[in-house]
Symmetry: C2
Subunit: 340 residues, 2 copies
DNA sequence: CTGTTAGCGCGTTCAG
DNA sequence: CTGAACGCGCTAACAG
């Protein structure tokens, strides 16, 4: 089926020396005559020899690979985190394999199996919106494989985490809406099992309380992150007897959908209803009106997560540390909340 | 460093049977007593045994993994292609490893090395904008590893390719601009080494000729796909003594940048200058005005590419077929070219 | 139906 | 400085 690739044995035969010598020449071993080393390297070049990492990993019990499991990467958020992680991993000599769970719990389980059977040395995980049970993820730790969560983290596991201050972010953005004169602020809240959803909702609620605005449960919409349904929820909101004058959406893709829908209904943004999102995605600045949102340091989230993971991998299991790194967000005020 | 993971030997010892029996039980071998099989499976579950694919791959000389090399995946285009490819690969029992070359030739070479040392069974490649030499990619074929190109393909290698009709797409979209009454249509053309750039430019030129519009070299801007530079080029265009009344950009991210810049200059779109892009990216419908563009069947491109690759992998090298699949595009007319 | 043996490609002892 | 021998975890071929 497949042509055999050049191996150390091929090189050894051609040069009439032992395999171990070839191996040593290839791995910069100290005890090796410079000329035999040179000869080996030369022939390796000619024959396009490429080290078989499968064997190396098998022998070393180490693949130099870290796995990343994300819910999706069509939106820019996770793509950028991945790039940040990949760069930091490369610096430390690690490759990366990526699986997307497609926001599906069972898919996440099967991703874990893929990672495990490919013997990753560590994993970076951001949970699906459905994940409520973490047994599949605990398998990593049991096998001595460190795990680091980012963005969609899990309280139940004491491991390193990289997050932003979702509470504060939501608080500030809600406060911003209040300060622009809005009084009935609705919230499209994410699934309650995600900590980011709960924190952002808390931030929202706390800001309202602080400013003595009565909380109206009618304005808090439980939303399962299915963009197709945004229209229904928003339509419901605008048809309330006492409709909202602002909507804070759990994330930017949702907020963008909200804007689209309101525009189609000829509702003025921000005069009639102001909109805010969360995360400052790629195109949030480009829609009309541009979206007010909290920016997250996406690239750095990936970088820090990878660095924490690599740190864990360099420790004995008993020395693992479960630090939580909380990175800075920044409010980006644009035309969806303030008339420019 | 790492806790040893459960192996077949562990199971064999615990059950006091031979390793081969355990192996057979785990792989659904026919010749095996149902009760021993059951016992093995049960213990495997208890001990959380996970097959070490490193060893399996080493023995089988097959990793069941296909590699994908893309220039980037921050924009939605390649993300979606990857998802399509991943789905098709999964159906056939293949995993996927993804590398991004970051539009960098040297990075692409190093990606090839990663793929090779990880012993992928086949690769899907979309070239960087810098790639002019293909020796690194020819190494795959020499080693019996099939390669399939998509989107950014290469004339020099006779292998399967998945493309869209870039010539026709560009022709139609230019013609559309002409039909809306535009006479001085500029083109932000991609690097000449990319076939898609050349085809799209040809389509543009042919449409002009067909409609007896003189070709003005001043309006054809060679552009290296660096979004940061779009403003400079567009600024140059609008300050020409005889400025364009339309701009056809090689891709959507570029077109979106053009729109942003023109808006900042208070130039009316499409009245003063109409804009068209190519590929119908995620947010092209959302900007103001929404972007006229050619949609590509991104998901299907990935799917077809993966299927062609899997087909090659199932053949002997001598039976490899170099089909080129050209998928359908569709013009999407929106407000950036026609006042709504 | 089960056990034994060999070997995938490599790195790492241990001898010289 | 170099070679021989062993083993990583698993599957396949060959005996029973």
């Amino acid at each position: 089926m497949k042509n055999r690739q050049t191996t150390i044995i091929d090189l050894a035969k051609a040069l009439k020396i032992s395999k171990s010598t070839v191996s040593r020449a290839l791995t910069n071993h100290p005890n090796i005559k410079t000329e035999t080393k040179k000869a080996v390297l030369e022939l390796a070049g000619e024959m396009d020899y490429q080290r078989n990492m499968l064997s190396v990993s098998l022998v070393n019990k180490k693949t130099n690979t870290i796995g990343i499991i994300v819910p999706e990467f069509v939106n820019s958020y996770f793509s950028k985190v991945i790039i940040g992680a990949q760069e930091a991993a490369a610096v430390a000599g690690y490759n990366v394999i990526i699986c997307q769970s497609n926001e599906n719990y069972n898919q996440e389980i099967s991703n874990v199996n893929i990672m495990l059977s490919n013997q990753v040395d560590g994993v970076l995980v951001s949970l699906t919106k459905e994940t409520r049970n973490f047994d599949h993820l605990k398998r990593f730790a049991k096998k001595g494989i460190p795990i680091v969560f980012f963005n969609r983290v899990c309280d139940e596991m004491i491991v390193p985490k990289v997050i932003v201050d979702d509470f504060e972010g939501a608080y500030k953005i809600t406060e911003h809406l209040i300060e622009t004169g809005k009084k009935r602020i609705a919230h499209l809240a994410g699934p309650d099992n995600l900590i980011i959803s709960r924190k952002r909702k808390e931030g929202y609620l706390t800001a309202l309380k602080k400013h003595n605005i009565a909380i109206d449960q009618e304005l808090i919409i439980p939303y399962d992150l299915l963009l197709e349904k945004v229209n229904i929820f928003v339509n419901h909101l605008i048809n309330l007897p006492n409709p909202p004058d602002a909507i804070f959406a759990i994330n930017d893709p949702t907020a963008i959908k909200v804007i689209e829908f309101l525009k189609s209904k000829k509702i003025r943004i921000p005069e009639d209803i102001a909109i805010a999102g969360f995360s400052n995605d790629n195109y949030s600045a480009l829609i009309e009106p541009p979206l007010t949102t909290m920016s997250q340091p996406v690239h750095e989230i990936g970088k820090v997560a990878a660095e924490l993971l690599i740190d864990q991998m360099n420790r004995e299991v008993k020395d693992w540390k479960a630090v939580t790194r909380m990175l800075k967000t920044e409010i980006i005020i644009r035309g969806s909340s303030v008339k420019e």
